[in-house]
Symmetry: C2
Subunit: 196 residues, 2 copies
C-alpha cells in the first residue's frame, strides 16, 4: 500500500529498477534465455520502455553487466604461492569461472557483445589493461608488462570464443583439467618467463 501512496518513481528511478531486474535475470537465466518481455514483466513496465531506456538486448546487457568476481579479492591468492605455478593457478581460476554457468554467461556475453557493441569492446579492453591482467603482470615486475597483459587477454578471449561461441570440438567438451594441463605452460610463459 505504501508503494501506491508514495510518489511514482521518476525516469531515473524506473531506469535503475529495470537495470536491477535485468542484471539479476541475465545472471539467473543467462543471456540467451533473458528476454525484454521477462524483464518488463518483473519490473512492471512496458517492454517498449525497456527498449526506450536501453536499446537492443546487447546494449542492455552491456549497460547492466558486472564482473562475476572482484579482481582485488582474487589477486593475492593468484600471485601468492609458488612462482613456478603462477600459470597453473591463473588458468585454473579462469577455468573455474567458466565452469560456473552465471560467470560463464557473463564472460561469454561480454566477448560476444564486444564484436557488435563498441561499449562492450571498451569493457573488455578495460578488463585486460586495467582491472585484471595488467595489474597482475605489473605486480610480478616483468618486462613488456603491457604486451604480456594484452596477450593473456588474447588467450582468455580465444578460449571463450573457441570453446563456447564457435564451439570447436574437442575443446568445447574437454574437461577443465585437460585444458589446464595444455594451457598452464602458455600462461606461465606469458606471466613469468622471457618473452623472446
Amino acid at each position: 500500500v505504501a508503494k501506491r501512496i508514495g510518489r511514482r518513481p521518476g525516469a531515473s528511478g524506473t531506469r535503475e529498477q529495470i537495470a536491477e531486474v535485468a542484471r539479476r535475470q541475465f545472471a539467473d537465466f543467462g543471456y540467451a534465455r533473458t528476454t525484454y518481455r521477462g524483464i518488463a514483466r518483473e519490473a512492471e513496465v512496458d517492454p517498449a520502455l525497456v527498449q526506450h531506456f536501453f536499446g537492443t538486448k546487447n546494449q542492455l546487457f552491456v549497460a547492466v553487466v558486472t564482473l562475476p568476481f572482484d579482481p582485488a579479492a582474487v589477486m593475492p591468492a593468484l600471485l601468492g604461492g609458488d612462482p613456478a605455478e603462477l600459470g597453473e593457478r591463473f588458468v585454473g581460476f579462469v577455468l573455474s569461472m567458466l565452469e560456473q554457468p552465471v560467470a560463464r554467461e557473463v564472460l561469454t556475453g561480454l566477448v560476444r557483445a564486444a564484436v557488435t557493441e563498441p561499449e562492450a569492446a571498451v569493457m573488455v579492453r578495460d578488463l585486460i589493461t586495467r582491472q585484471v591482467f595488467a595489474p597482475m603482470v605489473d605486480a610480478l615486475g616483468m618486462d613488456d608488462a603491457p604486451l604480456r597483459a594484452s596477450m593473456l587477454g588474447a588467450q582468455v578471449v580465444g578460449l571463450v570464443m573457441a570453446r563456447y561461441v564457435v564451439a570447436v570440438e574437442p575443446l568445447a567438451s574437454a574437461g577443465p583439467e585437460q585444458i589446464s594441463a595444455a594451457l598452464a605452460p602458455v600462461f606461465q610463459r606469458l606471466l613469468a618467463e622471457p618473452l623472446h
Copy 2:
C-alpha cells in the same frame, strides 16, 4: 548487344552474378566499406534483390567468402624444414596473412560473423577441424591431435579478436616480429611438444 538478344538470366544466374560482385567488393574494399548499394549498382540490380537473395550483409559475407589461401598449397612449406621451428613458421604464416589487408578482412570478418551467424561458426569450425589445423597436426603424427588442432584454432581466433576486433593495446599495434617471438613457443608446444 549479344547481351540484350540472349535470354535474361534466371534467378540463379542473377544470384550468382550478385555473389561474384559481392565476393570481389568484400576482397577489394573490406567488410566495413562494402555496401548493399555498391554491390547492387555494380551487379545492375535493385538493392532489395540483394537482400532478397542473401539477407543481412553478414549473411551475404558468409555466403560468398572464400579463404585467402589454399591450405593444400601452403601445408608442405609449413610442415617441411626444421621441426624445431614449426611453431615459428606457423605463427609467421598466420601473421603474414593478417598483415595483408584483404586476407585480414576476410579472416576478421569470418571471426566476427561467427558470433552472430551459425553458418559462419560452422565455417570457422570447419577451418579448424578439417581444412587447416587438424590436417597439419595429423601430418605431424602427434597424440591428442584433435585437441591440439582446436587449441591452435583458439590461438588464432584469440589473436584476431584481441588484435583487430577488441583492439587491445599494445597487441593491436605491435609488430609481427614481436608477436611472433612471443607466440612461436606457444604454437611449437601445441604442434609438436607433449601437451601434459
